[in-house]
Structures are given as structure tokens and as C-alpha cells.
């Protein structure tokens, strides 16, 4: 469903431009506000909607199959996302799901681990293995044979 932008709310901050995986949210050079330059290459991924600090971006279902009169609105916080869905008959549904446990920015570089030795480099083990496999040894099997 292609995105559209409220001219009252958009401040032209570029967050949607930076996050859009399809490179279709751009700033109108005259208006100074964001707009979807290529709705037919929109995947309805909501990345821009979630990223907009002003709540300026909304979506309207694809014209080729979605009747008008609906809304799907996310409110993403650091640990949960809240969805409000307005159905065609005007009724609403609300859902909320966790998005992350722990703090954003808490993942350390694997370089913080003790350096592996030369033998480990030559082995089939990956980083954090075998510990993180949670089994004693990495499984293997005899070399493949022709069928």
C-alpha cells in the first residue's frame, strides 16, 4: 500500500528518505516535505511510517485491490509496537507485541571475545561454537559419496 504524507505534520527531516529500502521517499524540492516518488515500487513495509518522528506518514491500500475506508497505524516504541486497525465497517482492533528484549545498542563487537587460536581458524567451528550450539560437539558426517 503506497504511503502518503501529511503536509501539516511533515517537517522534511529526511528520516523516511534515509530508511526507505526502495529509495522512493524523497523530499519535494519546492514544498520541502517528503512524498512517495514511485508508489508502484512501494512494498508497504511501513519502514518510513515507523521511522517518522511526526507521525506524518500514513498508507492507503493499493488501488488495484483495496477498497477505501481503512487504516493501519503503528506506534513503535523501543520495546513494543502498538497497532491500531480500522476495519471497513468502522470497527477497530488493537494489538501490541514486543519488538526487543534488552536495550538497543547493547550488542558488543565479537572482537571483545578472546582471540581464537590458529587451530580454531582451521576447524569447522564458527564463533561462539561449540558453546552456543548447546550440544557438546559440532555434528559431522563421512565425506559424500556418489549416488
Amino acid at each position: 500500500m503506497p504511503t502518503y504524507v501529511s503536509p501539516e505534520k511533515c517537517k522534511g527531516c529526511m528520516q523516511c528518505v534515509n530508511i526507505c529500502p526502495s529509495d522512493i521517499m524523497h523530499i519535494d524540492p519546492v514544498e520541502g516535505r517528503a512524498y512517495n516518488i514511485e508508489p508502484s515500487m512501494c512494498w508497504e513495509c511501513f519502514a518510513c511510517v515507523k521511522a517518522c518522528p511526526e507521525g506524518a506518514i500514513d498508507v492507503r491500500g493499493y488501488a488495484d485491490f483495496a477498497p477505501l475506508g481503512h487504516r493501519v497505524v503503528p506506534n513503535r516504541t523501543p520495546d513494543r509496537i502498538y497497532w491500531t486497525i480500522r476495519m471497513r465497517d468502522g470497527s477497530t482492533k488493537e494489538f501490541s507485541f514486543p519488538v526487543r528484549r534488552g536495550k538497543w545498542g547493547s550488542i558488543a563487537s565479537p572482537a571483545n571475545e578472546p582471540a581464537p587460536d590458529a587451530e580454531a581458524v582451521q576447524s569447522q567451528l564458527l564463533s561462539f561454537e561449540p558453546d552456543y550450539l548447546a550440544v557438546e560437539v559440532l555434528p559431522t558426517i563421512a565425506s559424500s559419496a556418489p549416488t
Binding site: M1, P2, I19, P21, S22, D23, I37, P39, S40, W43, E44, C45, F46, V59, G61, Y62, A63, D64, L68, H70, R71, V72, P74, W83, I85, M87, R88, D89, F97, P98, V99, R100, R101, G102, K103, W104, S106, I107, A108, S109, P110, A111, A115, V121, Q122, Q124, L126, S127, F128, E129, L133, A134, V135, L138, P139, T140, I141, S143, S144, T147
Partner: protein
Amino acid sequence: MEDGVRSAPQVVDCDVLIVGGGFAGCGAAFEARYWGRDLKIVLVEKAAIERSGAVAQGLSAINCYMGMRWGENRPEDFVKYVRNDLMGLSREDLVYDVARHVDSSVHLFEEWGLPIFTDPSGKYIREGRWQVMIHGESYKPIIAEAARAAASQVDEHVLITHLLTSADDPHRVAGAVGFSVRDGTFRVYRARVVIVAAGGASHLFRPRSAGEGWGRTWYPPWSTGSAYALLIRIGAEMTQMENRLVVTRFKDGYGPVGAFFLYLKATATNAAGENYEVARRPGLRERVGAYADATPLPTCLRNDLMFREIQEGRGPILMHTERVIDSPEKETVAWEAFLNMTVGQAVTWAAQGTDPGKDPSELILSEPYVLGSHAVCAGAWASGPADLASGEYQWGYNRMTSITGLFGAGDTIGGSAHKFSSGSFTEGRLAAKGAIRFLTDHPERPPVADAAVESMRSTIFAPLVRFLAARPKITTGSVHPELLFPDQGLHRLEKIMDEYGGGVGSNYTTNDHLLARGLAQLTHLKEDLGAIGAGDLHQLGRAWELEHRVWTAETVLRHTRFRTETRWPGYYYRSDFPKVDDEHWHCFVNSVYDPATREWKLFTRPVRALF
């Protein structure tokens, strides 16, 4: 916008270059840093890695997890499943390798903060035998955080157009070139080793959606076949490129079916309420023999049953959500399956007024896609791990392609099916470790010829130069006698592939004559790529995405023509060779394009069973 044409190139010298920041690329960055503490590791992505690649939107399940610690599955079990699902054809060494390592990746994800559904004892809740359920809205940003912590440098909004080869050896990779889609600078990456972790291909075939909904494809519109085109053009050996994927999805919104079939145990029927998968099984057995008795039934054969049901006039096919959603908890599971990963399906339900607790929903078969990470395995022919592979499956470094120093992961690697998100991340880790071992043995920095780089600069920016030169020949608009614009070229590609290559418009059916016609028309399109015009940097990006798709598409048609059987009914049909032909075709179809002679070579490689 002409900066890249005029200004000095921005050159980056690095040890490890990773092309593409999806799951495979993020896994590669993480693992490369663990083994290569002092190396310069550069990750290049055309968008922003928090929301790029096939998992940009999120996911509602991890589809590849063994659960070895709970004794749920062994890697051998997974190999048997994949062997069966791919109708016998997979690289079992690569499949086993992903399976034996994937649990460690998923346990890292959990530690990093991904909310996985667990029971009170902490055991993951299964959606199906291989799937675990997640609250995966932020799956990609979490994985991106790990990649950022590991990489020396993440260059975003840079589109890689070509790989560079060594001035001394055309079969040795030496880096990559591209441009910034933001400022138009020409980017040159000179690297000792390159890991391509780019995307598979949507929009090769005309999608079912129309007009404004053109972007409503199952795989994202930004997956443009770079995973293949980058490699094909420098002569890498490819495999299984005819193994395109058609998926069963909720109609129009393309919502996933896994949570409904596997977790909620919903069934699908034809319009008369008949469970057609059961009723039509005898007929399937007549067409494909013992494959019809496999458990679970291979993905392509389930498609085949639905396809014939619709063809024979018994549609629509209905997913009976209303028979299984009998509590608020199950209703929440149903909506979350969409809201985490395909919000558009939630929009479709809202717009059409569908209450899944009361109404069934239509299912449909999608247009075809080409990728290496789902129930399908197109991609590069790669070396396997030394303890599992030998002979023509192994040449020194895990996940190295036939090009020296060029590694791949995720959609890039062929034969390695059913990786999904966790397996693609794992394959990125495997490729990175193989690449580090390669660097240990190969301290050299391959030379890059300045003249070759300059030549690529001209090539990359030609569509902008061409547009400016030819622009005054028309008043305004998009109809030009000398220029083809990227969206026009993409429409032509989709029409060719749909009508000659077995898309939805031709009932997934093709034959030798149609494929020959399709290849002839693709040749014209390739000639017209020399007339692509781009009025701005966005269009320049679209021009190169089209180029990557066209090269991928040509390879798909060549492979499809070479395999004179119908190996995967439900993915595509050869009307001239309608049977599964194990006697002649229980093997891989591989190809190599020679950039020096511009000739293609197609040949077979054996399928070897691990056990």
C-alpha cells in the same frame, strides 16, 4: 547529479568487502570480525541496513532451526527434508553445513534481544518442525546492530553495479564499483576478498498485481537479482538457475500461510469445500510417481495441486481461518503473522472487511521468483566444507565460488535451499570464515587496473549522460525515439518472462520454441540497455537494477531450456517434456558465461547424497 561523472572517484581499500547488508551480509560482517581482528571489513548496502534486504519489514517466524539441544532434529533430518522438498536436487553438503551451525546463530539472536516465543521452561515454541515463532518486527534492526558493531565501516545508499577482477587474472576478484544514490559519487572498493550477499530477484516475471500495486510482489521490489548478475558477468559458475519459486499466499496482500497451516492447523479447500490436496493425490501420483507419496509433500507439488484445481474451474481456493480461530489468543496470532512481516495483508483484511474468525480468505499462487534461500536454490556453484565435501564439491574454502577470492552467502549461493533468515545469516558466517582462511593463505592484494576502473565509471554514469544529450529531442514526457527508461525496460522484461518463460500469464508453462523466442527478445532488450536514459540518481539506480534483472533472467531462460524435463511441477512446466525424468536429469544444470568471448556454456554436475 553529475558529480560521479566529473569528480575523482572515492576509493576504499579494504581486506574484506561485503556486498549487501541483508541477513547474509550482516552474518558475514559479524563472523569476519571474530576471526579477523585487525582486518578492514567494509559492508556496502544500497539502502540502510536497519531496513534492507528481504527481512526489512520483519518476520513472524524463524524458519530454519534444528533444536539440537532438545533433541528435536539432527542435521541429517533436515537434509532428508530438503532433498525431498527440492525433488532430489540440492547440495547436501551445503544444506547439512547450514543445519549443523544454524542453532548457534539463533541462540545469538535470542541473546541479542530477539523475542522468541517460549514455553514456561524456556523451550522455543514450534510453528512447524523447522520453524519457531518470534515477535519479529525488529528482527532486522537487531541483526543490523550486530553487523554495525563488527564492521570497520558500513557504507549505505551505495549501489554496487559491477565486481572488479585482478589486472593479472580475470578469474581473481579484486573489488567492486558502484555509486552513491544520494550524492552521485563514483565508489571504488579494492579488496583482498569479496563476499557477495546481495538479493535474489523479484520482478523478473510480470506480477499479478497491476498499476499502483505493481510493487506488491511477494519478495521485495528491491531484490533485483544482484546476487546473480554481479557474479555471472565476471564468469562465475552458476547452478539451479531454472529452479524458480512460486509461493502459495493469501490473495492480493500476499500474507504468509505458515502460521495458519502449521500452527493454527487450518485447511484449504476448493469452492465446493473439498480438501483438494487429499482428493487429487491419486492423479498426482500418476504424473510424478513416488514423489507424490513423500511426507511432507514437496512445496512445488502442493502448488501443482492448487494450480490444477484452479485450472479445472474449482476455485477460488479458500483458507478456512474461521474454522480454527476460536479465541482472542488465536485471533492475535493470526493478525501478528501479518503485522510482523506483511502489513499489507492486514491492510487487505481491514480494507475488504475480512474477519478471520468469521470469514475464510482466498489463497493464490504467486508469480515466479528467483532466489536461493527459500524452498528453492538458484545461485552460484560454491565449494563446500572440507569435512563434508570432496571432488567437484570442494576446492579449498567453504562458500568460495569458481572465482578466486569471491565468496557468497544467502540468495547468492545455489543448491543450499531452505536457509531462510537464520540460515542465510549462518551462511554469511560460514562464507566469512572461509574468506578469512583464504586471506591467511593469500596475503597478496590483487592489482586493479586504473583504466578498467575509469572504463566502468563511463559505463555506470552513461544513462545520465545519454539522457542529458538526448533530452532536447522531445518536448516533455517519457516517449523518446532513442531512449528507453528503466520502468519501460522492466515492463518489457516482465512481459517476455511471463509469456515465454512460464509466468502466471502462460500458466507457468513453456517449451523449447517459446524459450528460444524469449531469448531472442531478451537479446533485443539487452541491446536496448545500451539506450537506457536516467534523468536523476534514482533513475540511475533503477537502470542498474534493471541490468541486473535482465542478466539474471537470461540465465534463468538458458537453464530452463537446457533441462529437458519438468523437474518441479508447480514451479514451472515444460509442455514438451512434461514428466519428471530421473533417468536423465537427476543432476544439476550449471552454466558459465565467458565475458571475454560472450559465450555461454551449459553442462551438468552430479547430485551426490551425503548418506
